[in-house]
């Protein structure tokens, strides 16, 4: 059936098209293709768009927008809600450009959504094989953009380029064989003409890597194996042949430092996760930060947070870069709150540890020594009888993004306080099957329950400036703004707005589902600041009521 459009309107549309008249000619010239300069600028210019996973290459998730303030945040109103009509949940960072949202959802469905109305413009859906092995949720963490293309990885370990205007596939590159446990979930990182991605599958005996593909052709430009092969330095940190199936996936987006052309990626746990007799040694570069040349993929330096990990402490958290004064000296640093319970400030050029301090209860290591090695506590190697360690396997924090406010120089992390009894038993390696050699039992009883805490950390000292406690742990990422707002979600589905200087609660709204690994983003739409919140299978856009907030512009 044809839509019922009044005849005169149809005529008007036709004549506009024929004459090449721009509808709404008073609008400013629409932006052209996404440029590398825009990616380099991040949110710096005006914060009207959101074009990379972390808002900027340094992953600050800090917006310069100030229309929404601590005073008026309580009057935010929902403008629309978008529903995925899929199973699973959003774990994505939404990209925003020219009043259109680009968002990836569960099961590798993705959409372009009109930011004004919440209506779909196009939808992409990947046909996934039935026998997917993807370990830990059929999720995706977002798009990257360059030119007129979006880039997205898939659960069956492909990298796709989609046409931003139609959602059509432009090219399709294979990262690895999903049948042997390879999968991909991270938001790609675009640097210059390359699309940089990694693979998941650390629970399936894969050999992890970071790949770069030419954004134009989809051809692979380089590959960095997160586990060195024979003859390469570090291969001797794996016993026997264990390097071949040592896991060490890369499933969270890294940072980029244009000054040194370096990319910073956190790496996953070694496999098998808990039963480690078959992989004696430090197991480089598992549970590490690897720093690579963005053009060639060659390793500049690495820092291993957890040598020979046995608690599944993937270091796949989001690294944040900044230049900050420490003890009166200007320092170029990378900040990292690790699943293993320690917060780190590292020198970004040398990889030396400047600060390393637990930000949650941590029992497996006493401290980090001057060489940057954890000083282990005895009795924390799991076996069949079980041993108790804090944090639990989900960790002090995890893949959900932290934020950094460059004005106050505070690092914000969504922390978990939890302990577990870890067990290990000998696994057999079968390609494509789970290969962990153990499990944990969360400590959760009347006297000891896991809880959550949003914490502000001073990266110069590792000290806590404030905290906001919640009765259950949460998996929400964090967004901060130049008007001292911090947006996040608790473990029970409440969207929270805190004062980022003090940690006091300003506003909350029950979304009906948690922000799972996602964080809100903010941008401008027709002169009004918007807050976009993915929760469960919905996206909701919030803004101040008409007339409010404009005075502060």
């Amino acid at each position: 059936m044809r839509p019922m459009i009044p005849r005169f309107v149809r005529l008007a549309l036709v004549s506009a098209a024929v004459l090449g008249v721009t509808l709404g000619a008073q609008q400013a010239t629409p932006p052209g293709p996404v440029t590398n300069q825009e990616l380099l600028d991040g949110l710096k210019a005006d914060g009207s768009n959101w074009l990379t996973f972390g808002g900027n290459y340094a992953n600050h998730r800090f917006s310069p927008l100030t229309q929404i303030t601590p005073e008026n945040v309580g009057s935010l109103q929902p403008k629309w809600t978008f529903q995925t009509a899929t199973l699973g949940n959003f774990e994505t960072t939404t990209l925003v450009r020219d009043n259109v949202l680009y968002v990836t959802g569960p099961l590798n469905v993705a959409w372009a959504v009109d930011a004004r109305s919440g209506r779909q413009i196009w939808r992409y859906r990947r046909e996934l094989p039935d026998n997917l092995t993807a370990c830990c949720g059929l999720v995706n963490r977002g798009f990257a953009a360059l030119g007129e293309r979006l880039f997205m990885v898939t659960l069956d370990a492909h990298l796709l380029a989609l046409d931003m205007k139609t959602g059509a596939v432009v090219w399709d590159a294979i990262l690895g064989d999903y049948k042997t446990g390879y999968a991909a979930t991270l938001a790609p990182l675009v640097v210059k003409d390359k699309v940089i991605v990694g693979v998941a599958g650390g629970e399936y005996g894969i050999r992890g890597f970071i790949d770069a593909y030419d954004a134009q052709s989809g051809k692979r430009a380089w590959r960095f194996y997160t586990i060195p092969g024979p003859g390469d330095p570090g291969n001797n940190t794996w016993q026997g042949e264990s390097w071949k199936i040592g896991g060490t996936g890369v499933w969270v987006t890294g940072a980029y430092d244009p000054e040194t052309n370096a990319i910073f990626f956190g790496t996953g746990n070694p496999g098998p996760d808990y039963h480690s007799e078959s992989r004696e040694g430090d197991n480089l570069y598992s549970c590490s930060l690897v720093v690579l040349d963005a053009d060639t993929g060659t390793l500049k330096w690495h820092y291993q947070f957890t040598p020979h990990d046995v608690h599944d402490y993937d270091s796949t958290e989001v690294p944040i870069l900044a230049d900050i004064p420490i003890s009166g000296q200007p320092r170029k640093v990378v900040m990292f709150a690790n699943r293993n319970g320690f917060y780190y400030t590292l020198d970004r050029t040398t990889g030396r540890v400047i600060v390393a301090k637990p930000f949650v209860q941590t029992t497996w290591a006493k401290s980090i020594d001057a060489q940057g090695r954890p000083m282990l506590q005895p009795g924390h190697r799991p076996d069949e009888k079980g041993e108790r360690t804090c944090p639990d396997l989900t960790g002090g924090t995890n893949f959900w993004p932290p934020s950094f406010d460059p004005r106050t120089r505070l690092f914000f992390v969504n922390a978990r306080e939890a302990c577990a009894t870890f067990y290990a038993y000998k696994p057999e390696y079968v390609p494509g099957q789970r290969f962990t050699g153990g499990a944990q039992q969360l400590v959760n009883n009347r006297d000891e329950k896991p809880f959550g805490a949003f914490r502000a950390i001073d990266p110069a000292t590792g000290e806590r400036k404030w905290e906001f406690l919640t009765p259950t742990p949460s998996r929400a990422g964090i967004l901060t703004t130049a008007s001292n707002l911090l947006f996040t979600g608790d473990g029970e589905g409440n969207l929270l707005a805190l004062n980022s200087r003090t940690g006091t609660l300003l506003w909350r709204y029950q979304m009906g589902a948690t922000l799972h690994g996602t964080s809100p983003v903010t941008y401008m739409l027709d002169g009004k600041q918007q807050l976009l919140v993915p929760a469960g299978t919905t996206l909701t856009a919030w803004a101040l009521p008409d007339g409010a907030g404009n005075a502060t512009r």
């Binding site: 076996d383 069949e384 009888k385 079980g386 009894t421 067990y423 290990a424 038993y425 000998k426 057999e428 079968v430 099957q433 789970r434 153990g438 499990a439 944990q440 039992q441 009883n445 009347r446 919640t470 009765p471 259950t472 608790d490 029970e492 589905g493 409440n494 909350r508 029950q510």
Partner: protein, 268 residues
């Protein structure tokens, strides 16, 4: 034929332990191919402790699930137990091990469990279940439903005879609470006017709490609108010491509870 093939597997297993794939089973073998295998038992201990002990106890004598040390003595077979683990018990808290657990891990768990097995059933039912039912009606039914009648402040006990070990029930009735059941944690709300409401907590977060109170009223309260919300220290279930419930009445009660094996609500 099937059995032969599997025992060949088991023989190889002593040297290299191949994984018996979850997919390649039509009917599981009737006898555990890894029974008595020391390596399998060792791994089985780790698997059992991490995946089953929370409900069945480290010693398998039952906490939030039944005693498993008597399953063989009560007539169950390796093959039947294998199926129970593979499928779980639908409609109960007993989960399936899941499709990602290969068959050989299931056999390893059972190989370990066998080392804990009692030679004969020790839970002999000796009480008078008719008197037990009377005790239940007077002492328990105010808070517990069984087969469609009774109160709702406490959990439905229609399947308690299967779902919990006898010892765990005794401990619970006599008042030793290791933990409150999810959805039944005691909570005390003090209203702005000073009045208190006692109940069990159904849900809650930083800003609100949802409860069932002593009159079975279900109701939510915003924390901002009340004076105080405190978790209770004592269970909503009273302690039934010997002065309230004699040894012999308890015995009869247990005999009655043992007959509760599930409520079928379908209209016939």
């Amino acid at each position: 034929m099937r059995v032969l093939a599997v025992s060949a597997f088991a023989a190889v297993c002593l040297m290299g332990c191949p994984v018996l794939r979850a997919q390649d089973t039509g009917e599981p073998p009737a006898v555990n191919p890894l029974s008595g295998n020391a390596v399998a038992i060792q791994t089985g201990m780790g698997l059992f402790r991490s995946r089953c002990a929370d409900c069945h106890g480290m010693d398998a004598r039952g906490v939030r699930g039944p005693d498993l040390t008597q399953v063989w003595a009560s007539g169950r077979t390796d093959g039947g137990l294998f199926r129970t683990l593979r499928r779980g018990i639908p409609g109960t808290e007993m989960p399936s091990v899941g499709p990602r657990t290969p068959d050989d891990e299931v056999w390893k768990i059972l190989a370990y469990l066998k080392t804990l097995a009692a030679p004969t059933a020790t839970d002999v039912v000796a009480g008078n279940s008719q008197n037990g039912e009377r005790v239940f009606r007077t002492q328990c039914a105010g808070c517990h439903r069984a087969n469609g009648t009774g109160g709702r402040l406490g959990p439905d006990l229609s399947r308690i005879g299967i779902a919990r070990a006898r010892n765990a029930i005794v401990r619970r009735v006599r008042g030793a609470t290791e933990d409150f059941l999810d959805g039944y944690e005691p909570v005390i709300i003090t209203l702005k006017n000073g009045q208190t409401v006692r109940g069990v907590r159904k849900n809650g977060d930083l800003f609100s709490v949802q409860i069932m109170d002593g009159r079975e009223r279900i109701q939510g309260y915003l924390r901002a609108d009340v004076k105080d919300v405190q978790p209770g220290k004592q269970s909503a279930m009273p302690v039934f010491g010997p002065e309230r419930l004699s040894e012999s009445d308890l015995n009869d009660l247990l005999a009655y509870l043992g007959t509760l094996k599930g409520f079928d609500p379908s209209v016939k």
